[in-house]
Symmetry: C2
Subunit: 448 residues, 2 copies
């Protein structure tokens, strides 16, 4: 732009540097690159996409869910037909219309007791993340911490509100609490206000790691001591490979330290784009009046998307109602599928890569993802070659993380493919890795 | 907050001034107040809500629309059943999946020839507004102009990105072009970069006014001369009371000066929350690569809502397909209804208020809204009394506008009520106004 405040190009022809900085951000470029690679090689098997398994998709279920919710409104809630029609068709409550069912679901599946009024139903979990960060970011001093490697949706939402993200080491335990304390201290020393720390406690994306119970309690203690909000994102909590499910941070949260970010993309269906946030923190106005953080988030939502599609909410509600509010029950087939897929991939890797190859991987207790470490650099060029010459897609970990070890890591997703496709996908990946290993001795390039 | 960058209250107990400034904004407070008044008086007839008419709502239509779109995908687009299921269930294209149908609709109803790739399907028009403002706001110097009185959704979206709004006089012609040039000049003199000017050219909310053809051409000339984007919002364009429909600014736009904001809330159904933006402007990256503004908006959307609900898009697509892409055809009953309602309200006002009362109103050529000017101040207290003692709701114009004349104006919406309810609503409003007139002589308090 020139000094007179006029753009240097006519308005119909913009320059990227005349648009918001997030649009020039390397993180976004990198996300685009991944999509482009996938787009250029539609025949490649995807161990990249964190998409739910497709075999059980059934369009008739959408109709059934809608009718189930209609029945709920009329027969169970006592609405007359006109009111029910209005619920489906008209503008609706900003905070959502299925908040009671979401609260029931949290009680049934997570042991979380949430006041339905503290819930805002959102356009997927992504909108929930944006709303929370928008509320917390008042000026350039507000920062958010995030456990690394970090889900790109959080990084992206932070960029939309120009909020710096300071990363906290995850480590093998899912979160390094000493590092968290140190990052907090450093951020404050730098004049920042760390407003919250974002993490997934269960089957994290992208690391696959979960926090053990002791760490959960210690993290809540640290949040209390350091006066920090925790933003707990939990899209994968139901998908435990073993028998044991640990309580979420929110279930353990007795002091309203946790803002809980919920997604129905993996447990309901992605096409509905329904998520939610539990924000039971109190907000005091200068007048002394108090309300819930949820109500402040709803005010922001009224300027962003007005309300979440009633039809989408009705679909999710119908699925919840069909299973007495339990998505654990609704997802029995899917949970078994993801468990089997994860076991299959772990076994396949074990067969393909004896210890002598220097190829290693972690062993998540569930979820969609695991991380493979190889003794050579993993970058976009390797991914391109993998897609083109080997027909298999995965995600470079440097996409989520700028730590040195990420340069040698790739994320595998086990959620989307069938048994046969997974076998073939692992075979193709093994071929790629073995070809690369052939060109060099194990351990050559690995970081110390 | 204290000087150490720590909040003065524990994280579970926030203060409003520790949250984003939009949440303390008077505009938002005022919007909340209006909702609260309506909530406290559920029995009051609403001449306030800009909601579509409800008599034709039919839940079976949702099922029909979904099946029609499914048929379109399989029988017309050639997708196999697995691909069709994926379209409904899975994560989808960020820019939307019904862009081709939206382009067809724009051609059919508006004479707008839009490349489908220049369209982003959004979560209602509100998300489209946010995306455009987010893209254009790079730092504190970027400002947006808006024709006054201004739709609160634009004001709200601007507050979410901390972007100042400079208002341009609407005047009786819908936009005062001399004032627009002057506001531009002044904004630049103040060191701002005016990036765009927002307006409704047809049946504006809240003024009810439309631009005549000459003004449309002159506005486009001015935009070219002053190097300004126009953000044209068009939710009510189909609802013309007379026979003549004028071309939209976008239909007249030969130089990509217009970003077109579309809504299917009134013409499709609000419960789907589907809108769109046509952004065919080119964007040049520092590398020299060029793309469409639509693609930049999609990048932002990927960090905000990921994609618009496929199920919601399918519902709107089905309605479009049922009427060969024309919402003009789909809305024949609604168009007649709004035309009759507007005529009924205008006749009712004419009967209730002879010229001697000093009560005046404008005569829109269509749409949902008209503005009544009364010879006494119109404020929240009057609205509260109106709802409580007279059983009728409307909107104080000061909600949209801080000009002196707005203090004496109220907006009426004619869209929601049936014939009988409208009659009763006008009777109640007349009683309120006459009671107030009884306490004072006409012209007493009016601005000169």
């Amino acid at each position: 732009m020139n000094d007179n405040g006029q753009l240097t190009t006519p308005a119909g022809q913009l320059h990227l540097n005349e648009l918001h900085s997030s649009l020039s951000d390397p993180a976004l470029e990198s996300m685009n690159f991944l999509n482009e690679v996938a787009g250029r090689h539609p025949g490649a098997l995807s161990l990249a996409a964190g998409r739910p398994y497709e075999e059980f998709f059934d369009i008739e279920a959408i109709h059934r869910y809608l009718r189930r919710y209609e029945h709920h409104l009329t027969a169970e809630q006592g609405l007359d037909p006109e009111q029910a029609r209005r619920a489906f068709f008209q503008y609706g409550r900003t905070k959502g219309i299925i908040h009671g069912l979401v609260a029931r679901n949290l009680q049934a599946d997570e042991g979380i007791t949430a006041d339905a009024e503290s819930i805002v139903v959102t356009v997927g979990c992504q909108e929930a993340m944006f709303l929370v960060l928008r509320a917390l970011r008042t000026d350039e001093k507000d920062a958010v911490l995030a456990v690394a490697p970090t889900y790109v949706g959080l990084t992206g939402a932070a960029k939309l509100v120009d909020m710096p993200v300071r990363t906290v080491r995850g480590g093998p335990g899912g979160v390094d609490l000493d590092d968290l304390a140190e990052v907090l201290r450093q951020a404050r020393a730098d004049g920042l206000r760390p407003r919250a720390c974002y993490l997934l406690a269960d089957h994290s994306n992208p690391s696959g790691l979960s926090l053990d119970l002791r760490t959960r309690h210690a993290l809540l203690e640290l949040a209390e001591r350091e006066d920090l909000l925790l933003l707990e994102d939990n899209p994968y909590g139901l998908f435990t490979a073993g028998e044991e499910r640990l309580p979420t941070l929110k279930a353990l949260d007795t002091r309203r330290r946790v803002v809980y970010l919920g997604s129905y993309a993996k447990t309901g269906l992605p096409g509905a784009r329904v998520g939610f946030v539990v924000a039971d923190q109190t907000v005091t106005a200068p007048s002394g009046a108090t309300g819930l953080l949820a109500d402040e988030l709803a005010k922001l939502k009224s300027m962003l998307t007005v309300n979440t599609s009633a039809i989408s909410q009705a679909v999710i509600a119908g699925k919840l109602l069909e299973h007495e509010g339990s998505l654990l029950r609704a997802n029995e087939r899917e949970i078994a599928r993801y468990r089997d897929n994860l076991a299959q991939v772990l076994a396949g890797l074990g067969q393909a890569f004896p210890a002598s190859t220097g190829v290693r991987w972690n062993t998540p207790s569930g979820g969609f993802f695991l991380v493979v470490t190889v003794p050579f650099p993993v970058d976009g060029a390797l991914l391109e070659a993998s897609a083109r010459d080997y027909g298999v897609l995965w995600t470079p970990m440097r996409h989520f993380h700028d730590a040195p070890e990420a340069e040698f890591q790739l994320r595998l997703s086990v959620s989307l493919l069938t048994t046969e496709q997974l076998d073939e996908g692992i075979r193709r990946l093994a071929r790629l890795i073995n070809d690369r290993l052939g060109g060099q001795r194990p351990d050559d390039d690995r970081p110390a």
